[in-house]
Symmetry: D2
Amino acid sequence: ANVPATQKVAIVASEGSGVHIKDHPVKLPSQLAPGECLIKLHCTGVCHTDLHAATGDWPVKPMTPLIGGHEGVGDIVAIGEGTINSPVQVGQRVGVKWIAYSCLNCEQCRKGYEQTCANVKLSGYTVDGTFQQYLVSYTNCVTPIPDNLESAAAASILCAGVTVYRALKYSETGAGDWVVLPGAGGGLGHLAVQYAKYMGRRVIAIDGGEEKRKLCLALGADHWIDYTTTKDIVGEIKKVTNGGAHAAVVTTASPSGYTQAIDYLRQNGHLMAVGLPSTATLDASIFFTVFKSITIHGSYVGNRQDAVEAIEIAASGAVKCHYQTKKLKDIEQVYDDMAKGKIAGRIVLDVNDV
Amino acid sequence: ANVPATQKVAIVASEGSGVHIKDHPVKLPSQLAPGECLIKLHCTGVCHTDLHAATGDWPVKPMTPLIGGHEGVGDIVAIGEGTINSPVQVGQRVGVKWIAYSCLNCEQCRKGYEQTCANVKLSGYTVDGTFQQYLVSYTNCVTPIPDNLESAAAASILCAGVTVYRALKYSETGAGDWVVLPGAGGGLGHLAVQYAKYMGRRVIAIDGGEEKRKLCLALGADHWIDYTTTKDIVGEIKKVTNGGAHAAVVTTASPSGYTQAIDYLRQNGHLMAVGLPSTATLDASIFFTVFKSITIHGSYVGNRQDAVEAIEIAASGAVKCHYQTKKLKDIEQVYDDMAKGKIAGRIVLDVNDV
Amino acid sequence: ANVPATQKVAIVASEGSGVHIKDHPVKLPSQLAPGECLIKLHCTGVCHTDLHAATGDWPVKPMTPLIGGHEGVGDIVAIGEGTINSPVQVGQRVGVKWIAYSCLNCEQCRKGYEQTCANVKLSGYTVDGTFQQYLVSYTNCVTPIPDNLESAAAASILCAGVTVYRALKYSETGAGDWVVLPGAGGGLGHLAVQYAKYMGRRVIAIDGGEEKRKLCLALGADHWIDYTTTKDIVGEIKKVTNGGAHAAVVTTASPSGYTQAIDYLRQNGHLMAVGLPSTATLDASIFFTVFKSITIHGSYVGNRQDAVEAIEIAASGAVKCHYQTKKLKDIEQVYDDMAKGKIAGRIVLDVNDV
Amino acid sequence: ANVPATQKVAIVASEGSGVHIKDHPVKLPSQLAPGECLIKLHCTGVCHTDLHAATGDWPVKPMTPLIGGHEGVGDIVAIGEGTINSPVQVGQRVGVKWIAYSCLNCEQCRKGYEQTCANVKLSGYTVDGTFQQYLVSYTNCVTPIPDNLESAAAASILCAGVTVYRALKYSETGAGDWVVLPGAGGGLGHLAVQYAKYMGRRVIAIDGGEEKRKLCLALGADHWIDYTTTKDIVGEIKKVTNGGAHAAVVTTASPSGYTQAIDYLRQNGHLMAVGLPSTATLDASIFFTVFKSITIHGSYVGNRQDAVEAIEIAASGAVKCHYQTKKLKDIEQVYDDMAKGKIAGRIVLDVNDV
Ligand SMILES: [Zn+2]
Ligand SMILES: [Zn+2]
Ligand SMILES: [Zn+2]
Ligand SMILES: [Zn+2]
Ligand SMILES: [Zn+2]
Ligand SMILES: [Zn+2]
Ligand SMILES: [Zn+2]
Ligand SMILES: [Zn+2]
């Protein structure tokens, strides 16, 4: 492979110092350890998690200096010497997700819980991520991308898509059951609407404004609730669902999203918590959680199989990410906009147009 | 059946008025509706829930005047005319539990969630309970008591036993997994230790004092933690279990029991919430619930099958309730002691010695 | 209710005597036991099971004389005096399915397995069925029919629909998984294709002939295999599914359908056996069942909740039964045609046009 | 490590040629590939599977020449250069089981089904096994042996123990449920009795003769049936269990064991098929499998986590293998005896006393 010695990356020098484009060395193919691969990236999504990584406001701290990013797609250009039985090959197009590496040997891994591996490595958090042109990743954990799915379309499936897909998959609902999706018009939400419909669930989309209403209904939502104009959201959900929803996938950072779900869920309903707010607590009534027999699942991104399935469903055409394409050098602006809540949908950065 | 016109009952005249022994009419066999049965009670347990019923401090209010109690055992002396296909017969010894009646026809019932039936009746809360000598109950929902289990030994199995049995049964743990039982020496806890051991779980018993230590270890607990002397409970659990417990059954009313469990549970651990505090909220970190992939299950007493199983295991001799016998007329004193936290273990009242 | 003293029924006088239209008394409303209801039927499906009932070739024998039929829809015109808490009311339109009555109290019922109730009554087999104008059924077990689903469209959902819906629901497959449906163009099969697609499964439809090919593809099947022209069915399934299907729903009476499924299923695949042949045995290799870790599920019609769900999905318009309407008096001809394998799709009889 | 150039092995030169002790080269530490380890064995169990391997009578053929054996325990003396993140270290005592290697990357592996890995290697079948003194195995797939479990006691847990443990674990039974164990006094059976009791199941042990009766009851079986003297085994099981057993773990090679289980299982019961007969078919009534809603699970040895759990339970003292110790050079005689059905319990060979 014809690999350059240096590349452009977006790097956070130290906690709170902001993100900046810099020249940065590329790890040479000969330096790759067994099990490592070098990926020439095409593009990368930007996720709210990247903002947490840049500001360091989570209770588990990122490394610094840090190259963020965990929704990248590119081609494998080299595989470390001594790698055995690699499931991917040089030349293959693959995706890199939040879970960069799981050991596959600890108790969590043996049980399929790769996200909570005792030896996990997190892209753009504990190892360098996808905000660069040449990324080192791990042959065992990258996700093959089918030919009929474009790189930019695949990027956000690798994090936002996998996250909502897994939450729905483990929501203990069946075909025909009602699922509530707060923030249904957003980055995670609009993917959740599509996965939920693909699985045969009935969807109540909650979000604000005419544009989001149109989007959600176009994606197949069975019922729309505008939180900016609806006075009794709980009451409306109970009416539409004839007694309460079977599940909710809550991606919000604010505790109120969780509290409210306890109220609008049907007895024996399932609250899928997927957001990772820095400090918020659940704040849900213990009495009603027990009395209504509610289950609250912490659902954390997804494992390799979840990623394969989420990508395959997207490749079939059933789920399409709505995204805007920008350039890697735009990342400072993207972070600013994201911090101010000005981003609608997902952003995908072309890493080669710096 | 030779049924008297009046009986002694313990009744709460109005919210907060306290409990008093009174004469009270007995519903005559000829007045029973189809599906109802009249039970001549032998004894009844007293449960913390009865105190909530008497003080009316739960967000869902009891009826008044109220005859409390929901852990009774007695003989069926009459079955309402027109009752079809009764699974129990006159002369049979049966138990009455918190769920006095489920319709068996609503969606919750069809799915086996009888506790959250749309038409549920709660013993000693929305219908008169077991603090009387002649109780009206429902043929479909009483629990047959096997010959080899004494009435007084069965009483608390019907509520405390069923509750912890179901919580363990649905804790998604397997044989050899570690289960933490805060309050292991108490009324629910000492039953939980025994059910957990019967199921092949490894048990960490948490409670305070030498007497409770001896009890828990005698019942088979694998490890004892005295919360009054242990500085780092979370640390000790993690050390003993090699990384955290697989599940915890939390019966406490205080939010701290739930918060602490999130910390000492292993990744993908299960918190079984069975307590029904009046106002407390979960107060658990959303970040760590998601990041550790914890599941929090509201587990609410049990259904008919749970009761049958819990009773059968007790009848086999594998689980024994530790209780003190008192008389129905002692109930005011029992409530006083309970309110002051002075009751150790379960109390069973002989309803015929008034 | 204005109920006539006699009605027309299709009756089998004794085993093997054939089915004949006769005058037959109607059970008067005043004669109904508590829990019974009288239904004025509109129509009834005819099912292969009815032929087994008429010929008496199953190892479990039907009663005689027998009025068959177990896919009926009509209006409740009376409910037995003394019925308590009926979930349905006089005037309501309901369906009657194979499981006419479950006690809701035995161990099987308490676990939700109403089909294997110790006290089960089977429509048109152990109690009189839907080949009549006025049917006695049970308030607890009839299935409410939503307004937006026509009676004739609902009829076959109550047996064929419920059966394949439950088999798919319990097939332990997920969205995107491959399900093979032998006989996909037939009465059960064409409903299975639609339910499977509604649930997000990928479907391989197997059947014979151009007409069935068109039907299956129009219903959404992802791949078609014509068994009359395909030499290597197992090989083709393995190729299309990249290694074998995740599940198969086998409705056939011949052992070869089961044997073949063991071969074309992926490792850890699920064979849903729903057919009830009189004498055939599974005949599957024990070696490969174990070595491939195949699970074979006996899946027997469905319970009340399965019926509610299957009907709701049909009422939403997602699943449509293809049927021909005939008259009750045509039943002898229908049986003849069925015995000769000349029936395509489902037959629904208008019971009022005799 | 001080590794000799040659060792003694028991080898089958070609299909049907019988097993013979030979000198055989040891793979040198410097020749180990990344991910391989060299184990100096202490002992190895002999399993019926080894006899199938030696005679080549299974539909999937072993390699030849073949060194059999798949229940070995020894110390790691070397790990291949370039091995990354090995979960085990040189000097550690480990066990080798039937599944010598799974790729951990294919769909089956990602779902935890390591036994059906697309790239699986089988000890003593497709790669050389434990009938030698120095074995090459794989760091990812060996099972650590706790200090408090002797090597000879661990050996048969690695195959017979894991197999019955997994079958019980996935039998969809709960505490208090009845499990039937045909062959309960045999090599697999006596371990199954102990695991089942540890899990809180009630056990019906079936076998023949006074010695086996004593063994089974001493191990905790709740009921004993002598098949040599009991006329109506099905009837007796139904009587003892009040309607049929919840599950059976069938290890036999003869089809009749499976057929009979369909009869004595309760409705919705589970038949765990773990035997691997060469040619037998299930031969079970399709009608009754469906009508009784029986599930038949092909359960094939176990994965790494099953092995860790089975070994941990044995190390706790709850499960003890009954075995006879012999020498590697006795293997021809052991095979002869096994072929004639003359072996009671498990045989463990000391590989260093040749
Ligand atoms: Zn992300
Ligand atoms: Zn790991
Ligand atoms: Zn209670
Ligand atoms: Zn109900
Ligand atoms: Zn029943
Ligand atoms: Zn039918
Ligand atoms: Zn073996
Ligand atoms: Zn594999």
